[in-house]
């Protein structure tokens, strides 16, 4: 069960017709560092043409540029980060992050970690975990470049988060996933349903361990850059029936979550998730969760 035709047939059954996607480069302004620095004008003076992304507060498309946006002094000083547009959405879904205890459960290479720290205005404590030591180097460089000062990083599998003995106010589960063809040109060649099922199982394990460390009034944002429902809607359907979680309405880019997956009817609240098919951005899926019975 693999190959381009197999996966495109699945997407068609889910209501989406395949088309080639050319991703536009996007940046995100780090407000904590760039405040008062007139960054957009500075970028324009360098020959970068930024265009505001309508569905993001701090995101800009790079329309064209005479310089590499990954090599400007402004980038190296941490005034902005290069971050794909859809990847900027999950962190933006949390309510008030300032002063909170926040977990980034699968943090490397750190784009969303820096975004969290920025919205926390370097207050509270941000716990960043990753299981791959080599990727922690990239994460550390990212934190240093962006002058992040509220984060502690551990080499730790997200499934062992209980070892930290911390109850979190906010948990970002940008879980390891199968990815999608828009950001990987060999995706159809390399991926099989076995990969998808293995990832879906890992994601459930991470989710169930994370819930144990969530405060009663805490929030979880679950996200993947996978298009496969096993890693998205089906996992959320499992979570609300098994982990005493409820899905919160979010107001962001994307379509409603699917509630009919190849004939299987899911809980109607799954439509509150957001599914982003590749087009303006890469493919993505986001869902905001709370413990049932907690006040929003």
């Amino acid at each position: 069960m693999s190959g381009k035709e197999f996966f495109l047939n699945r997407y068609e059954h889910l209501g989406w017709e395949y088309r080639e996607v050319k991703l536009r480069q996007a940046i995100r302004i780090n407000q904590t560092n760039a405040k008062g620095k007139n960054l957009v004008e500075r970028l324009k003076s360098l020959g970068v043409c930024p265009e505001k992304i309508p569905f993001l507060d701090e995101g800009y498309w790079v329309q064209r540029s005479h310089v590499s946006v990954g090599a400007t002094a402004e980038y190296l000083l941490g005034l902005y980060s290069i971050q794909e547009a859809a990847a900027q959405i999950p962190v933006s879904l949390f309510t008030s992050l300032k002063g909170k205890r926040v977990l980034d459960a699968a943090a490397a290479p750190g784009g969303k970690t820096v975004q969290l720290a920025d919205l926390m205005v370097n207050s509270g404590v941000l716990f960043a975990l990753d299981v791959d030591k080599r990727r922690l180097t990239a994460l550390s460089n990212h934190l240093e470049r962006c002058r992040v000062s509220n984060t502690v990083v551990y080499l730790l599998d997200a499934r062992q988060v209980s070892q930290l003995n911390v109850k979190f106010d906010r948990i970002l589960l940008d879980v390891p996933c199968s990815g999608n063809f828009a950001s990987d040109k060999d995706w159809f060649k390399n991926r099989t349903m076995a990969d998808v099922e293995r990832n879906a199982k890992l994601q459930k394990e991470i989710l169930s361990k994370a819930v144990d460390c969530l405060k009663d009034d805490g929030e979880i944002v679950y996200s993947t850059c996978s298009l496969e429902p096993e890693e998205n809607e089906l996992n959320m359907d499992w979570a609300i029936s098994r982990l005493n979680l409820g899905i919160e309405e979010v107001n962001c880019h994307g379509q409603r979550g699917l509630t009919d997956i190849f004939g299987k009817k899911l809980d109607p609240s799954i439509q509150l998730c957001r599914r982003i098919w590749p087009g303006e951005t890469q493919g993505f899926f986001v869902c905001k969760l709370r413990k049932r019975g907690s006040s929003a």
Binding site: A71, L139, E144, N150, V152
Partner: protein
């Protein structure tokens, strides 16, 4: 090596920085400045915490850009360079006299000086090899590049 290494490093720029030793944590020769909220979470094995200040290797101290940024906010010796010089500096090049717009502090030949762009942002530091206060030829190298923010790109190669 301990907090003294960072204080000594600051002295090379003519300032004495004060760091609360209770909030300084060390991991494999790397120094981090944390706050009281973070400190309890550094008791278990961590990889990175708070503000990275630099690392000690072979008896030498290598500063982070966070530490340089902290020094830049003090009365440390510094020069402000023009746009073109700033760009060349982050590409690893030295600073020529004609690129220097302003100079602060008592920078002397053989000492270190922070290099700032026209926005007052610290791009790195260098060693003074010319007479900064003296009128010289435009093409004389004044500051030899020691460390610049282009290092973020070089270290990932």
């Amino acid at each position: 090596m301990n907090a003294r290494a960072m204080v000594n490093f600051g002295l090379q720029f003519g300032v004495e920085i004060s760091l609360n030793p209770d909030l300084l944590v060390q991991k494999n020769g790397r120094f981090f400045l944390v706050n009281s909220a973070l400190k309890p979470f550094t008791r278990r094995d961590f990889y990175y915490a708070g503000t990275f200040l630099g690392k000690a290797k072979g008896g030498k101290f290598f500063p982070s850009f966070n530490l340089l940024g902290m020094l830049a906010k003090t009365e440390a010796n510094k020069i402000v360079v023009d746009k073109r010089t700033a760009w060349l500096f982050i590409c690893g090049r030295d600073v020529f006299s004609k690129g220097i717009l302003h100079m602060y502090g008592a920078a002397k030949k053989g000492g270190n000086v922070l290099v700032l762009n026209e926005f007052g942002e610290c791009l790195g530091f260098g060693k003074i090899v010319g007479n900064l206060g003296r009128k010289t030829g435009d093409s004389e190298i004044m500051v030899k590049n020691v460390l610049d923010i282009g290092d973020f790109l070089r270290r990932e190669r």
